[in-house]
């Protein structure tokens, strides 16, 4: 067994475990935002570890290069999705206050819990 095989043998299961934990969290966490944490994030590290595990098996550098692109685009796109869904849910009022210990948006009071948008109008209730 070569060094590359050892790296693969370690990284692939660990990456798969992180992905599985993410799926479990998405199933078990109490509200939308905490589910979103589980649904979008552990997959990132899971995928990166799996890519790292696959790379030694690719044989040549040029065969492994696209894996780098996959990882890069995952890092580029995952936060956009997470932010968009989380922001939309927040502005739509889908926040379970029972799961919050600290909510600093409430002190704004009558303006509504979200920031006014750029044109100076407030987003509709």
């Amino acid at each position: 067994m070569s060094v590359g095989d050892v790296i693969t043998a370690v990284l692939l299961p660990v990456g798969a475990a992180f992905s599985a934990l993410g799926a479990l969290g998405a199933l078990r966490f109490p509200d939308l935002h905490s589910r979103l944490h589980a649904a979008t994030k552990p997959q990132t590290i899971g995928l990166l570890l799996i890519l790292g595990g696959v790379a030694p098996q690719a044989g040549t550098v040029s065969a492994a290069a696209p894996l780098l692109l996959v990882g890069f685009f995952q890092l580029l796109t995952a936060p956009v999705t997470a932010q968009t869904v989380a922001g939309a849910a927040y502005r739509a009022g889908v926040v379970d206050h029972a799961t919050l210990t600290v909510d600093e948006s409430r002190r704004e009071g009558e303006d509504g819990p979200w920031f006014a948008n750029r044109s100076g109008e407030h987003r509709p209730e």
Binding site: H33, R91, V102, E104
Partner: protein
């Protein structure tokens, strides 16, 4: 470097970057793929009218390495934390909505901070004020006000590291007024 020169440099760098992706996708570098890539990049640029991405004044490579190392470590630690909570009493996990004041006026730093926040488990950006000076984040687990404060401090530290790694035109304007 005046504004036009900066815009031109930004476009050239973006072109080089797109060419790099093209070559990675082909998986080989020879005269034909480079020439073909140059044509495709020029065509894509003309068709899409990509905006000029703001440039940074200076990059400190060691600080960039520190930012990446910090991010990788945070990603690992917070993934383990969220994973643990997924296994142990997931229904009792508590969160917080926290406002963080931004120090930087640079959009690049803002992008770096928000990407970093939203990539690591446990924090998501949910809102941004109109002046882009306050980030509103959803963080978990947050069990107390002290934990909320330490999360806020963590985001501020990330911003500070990014500002040290990337010296931007907005945060450190040049002495001479050539902007």
């Amino acid at each position: 470097m005046n504004r036009n020169a900066r815009r031109a440099a930004s476009r050239v760098l973006m072109g080089v970057w797109l060419l790099g992706i093209w070559l990675l996708l082909w998986g080989r570098i020879d005269a034909l793929t480079v020439a073909g890539g140059a044509v495709v990049v020029a065509g894509a640029y003309a068709a899409s009218r990509l905006p000029a991405v703001p440039l940074v004044r200076r990059i400190r490579p060691l600080r960039v390495a520190a930012v990446i190392a910090e991010f990788a470590w945070d990603l690992l630690v917070s993934s383990v934390v969220i994973g643990w909570h997924a296994l142990y009493r997931p229904r009792q996990v508590r969160s917080g909505i926290i406002d963080v004041d931004m120090r930087s006026r640079s959009e690049l730093i803002l992008l770096g901070v928000t990407t970093s926040i939203s990539l690591r488990p446990g924090t998501i950006l949910i809102d941004l004020d109109p002046d882009r000076t306050v980030l509103r984040i959803h963080a978990m687990p947050v069990r107390s006000r002290a934990e909320a404060d330490s999360r806020r401090a963590g985001v501020a530290t990330t911003e500070e590291r990014l500002m040290r790694a990337f010296v931007t035109w907005e945060d450190a304007p040049p002495e001479e007024d050539d902007r």
